[in-house]
Amino acid sequence: MYKSLAEICETEKRTGLPFWKIVQEDDCTERGVADRDSFEQMRAMYHAMQDADEQYDGSQISASGLVGTEGKKMQQAREAGTTICGNLVAKVMEKALKTGESNACMKRIVAAPTAGSCGVVPAVFLTVQEEKHFSEDKMVEALYVAAGIGGVIASRAFLSGAAGGCQAEIGSASAMAAGGLAYLMGGNAKEIANASALALKNLLGLACDPVAGLVEVPCVKRNVIGAVNALTAADMTMAGIFSKIPPDEVIDAMRSVGRSMNEDIRETGKGGLAGTPTGAEIREKMAHI
C-alpha cells in the first residue's frame, strides 16, 4: 500500500492514470490478483454495504438498550420534510445512523475502516448514488479511492480507537468518504487528497470515549458527523478551497495527537463521555446485568 498521498498524486502526473486505478494496480500486485477479480471483490463490499442498509430493522435495540430506532426517527423526519439540512444531508444522517445501529446490534456490516466507523462511507456513497445516479462501477471506483486513502493513513498513523482515539476511526472514515466523494465530483488526485485532509483536520483530537466501553454511545451518532463532515470537505475542495497543511502532514499530525492522548480516551471506556456521572452510572448498571 502507498505510504503517502503525495506519491499517489505524483503517480497520477507521471502515468495519467486516475487515483482509483493507481490504488487498484497496487492492490493487484500486492495480493497477486487480476484487475477484474479485484474489482469484483470491491463490488462485493459495495453490495454488502447496500445489504446492511436495506436490512436495517427500525425496531432493533442493542443488548444494552442504549441504541436503537434512531435511524428510523431520522427517516421519518426526512420524509416529513421537517429537517433544516434538506433531503440529501438528512438521508446521509439517516443511513449513517442505520448502519451504526445495526453494528451495535451484532448484525453484519462492512468495516470501513473499522466497525465503529462503519456508517460513514456507506452513508455518503449510498446516498449520493441514490440522489445523483452514479453508475455502480463508478461507486466501486470511489471505494478504491476511499480504500487508498485509508491505506495511507494505516501506513503513516493508525486506524483503531485504542491506538489513536476516535479521530483514527471516524476521522479516517470521514477522510476516506471525502476523498471518494471528491472523485465522484470529478476531482483529480490532488483534489481527492485535499478533501481527505480537510475532513481529517476537522476531527483531529476526537476522543474515543465509549460509554460502558460499548460501541454505542457516542459511536453511532459520531458516524453522522463523520459523514456530514465528508460532504462539506468535498464541497469546499471542489469550490477551490485548499488545506494550508499538506495532506500527508495532516495524517502525521493525527498520529502525533493520537500518541499524546491519555489511555483514558483511547477506547478504555474510562474518560470523556464514559467518565461523566451519567456515563459512569450506565457503566455501573451494565456491570449488574
Partner: protein, 219 residues
C-alpha cells in the same frame, strides 16, 4: 494488511478490533495447534479486559477457536456452541506489561494433549499480530502460510529452511529472525506465498539444531 482490510472485512459487529480481530486471533491460534481444541485458558489484557465483555471479545475468541469466520452470525452464541462441541474454556484478566492494549494470552490444549501458548494483539481494523508462541517472539499477522521454526542459534539453520523452501517452489513473502541470547534459542518466522508441503515441515522437525516447528496453514 491489504486493501480489503481497509474497506472490509464484512463482519459481525460491534468492533473490528475487539470482535472481528478477536475471532481471527482464535482462528489463527486454532490453526497453530493444528488440532481440535479441548481446553482454552483465555487471559484478557488492557482494553480487551476493560471493554471486552461489552464488545463480545470473549465470545469472539471462543468463536474463532471453534473455527468460525468473522461474518458468522453464530458468533454471539459461541459459548453455547463450545459446550456442545466439548470445548472447555476459562476467561480471566491479566497484566502482560508493555504490550498492545488489545492483547490476549491463550493457553490451549488439543485433543491429543498437545499444548500451545499464544500471545496475540488485535491491532485495528480486524488485523492481528501473533506476538509470542510458547514464550518466544514471533511477529506475524496470520495472513500468509507461516512457518515458525524454533532452533539453536548456530550457523546454517536459516539456510536449511530457505533452501528447503526453494526446492519446494515456495516463495518467501517476509522473514524475521529473533534470538534470546547469542548462541541460545532462536526463532525464525517465515511468511510464504504458497503452502509448505506437510512432509517438508516434518523433515525440518528432524533436522539437527531444530527444536520445534509450528506451521500455520491457511488451507
Amino acid at each position: 494488511m491489504n486493501l480489503l482490510d481497509i474497506i472490509g472485512p464484512v463482519m459481525v459487529g460491534p468492533s473490528s478490533s475487539h470482535t472481528a480481530g478477536a475471532v481471527k486471533i482464535g482462528q489463527v491460534a486454532r490453526k497453530l495447534i493444528a488440532e481440535k481444541v479441548m481446553r482454552a485458558d483465555i487471559f484478557l489484557h488492557g482494553s480487551f479486559l476493560a471493554t471486552g465483555k461489552g464488545h463480545g471479545t470473549d465470545k469472539a475468541l471462543v468463536a474463532g477457536l471453534l473455527g468460525m469466520a468473522v461474518d458468522d452470525p453464530h458468533i454471539p452464541y459461541s459459548f453455547e456452541i463450545a459446550k456442545k462441541e466439548g470445548l472447555e474454556f476459562h476467561i480471566s484478566g491479566i497484566d502482560l506489561g508493555d504490550v498492545h492494549p488489545n492483547s490476549v494470552k491463550l493457553n490451549l490444549t488439543g485433543i491429543s494433549g498437545k499444548k500451545i501458548e499464544v500471545i496475540a494483539a488485535s491491532v485495528g481494523g480486524g488485523q492481528i499480530e501473533i506476538c509470542e508462541i510458547d514464550g518466544l517472539s514471533a511477529s506475524f499477522g496470520g495472513d500468509y502460510p507461516t512457518l515458525i521454526v524454533n532452533h539453536l542459534d548456530v550457523p546454517g539453520r536459516v539456510t536449511a529452511v530457505t533452501s528447503m523452501l526453494s526446492k519446494k517452489g515456495v516463495n518467501i513473502a517476509g522473514m524475521k529472525l529473533y534470538r534470546t541470547v547469542r548462541g541460545g534459542e532462536a526463532v525464525m518466522v517465515v511468511e510464504c506465498d504458497q503452502e509448505v508441503p506437510m512432509e517438508a515441515v516434518a523433515w525440518l522437525e528432524g533436522l539437527e539444531g531444530i527444536l520445534k516447528v509450528t506451521y500455520l496453514s491457511l488451507k
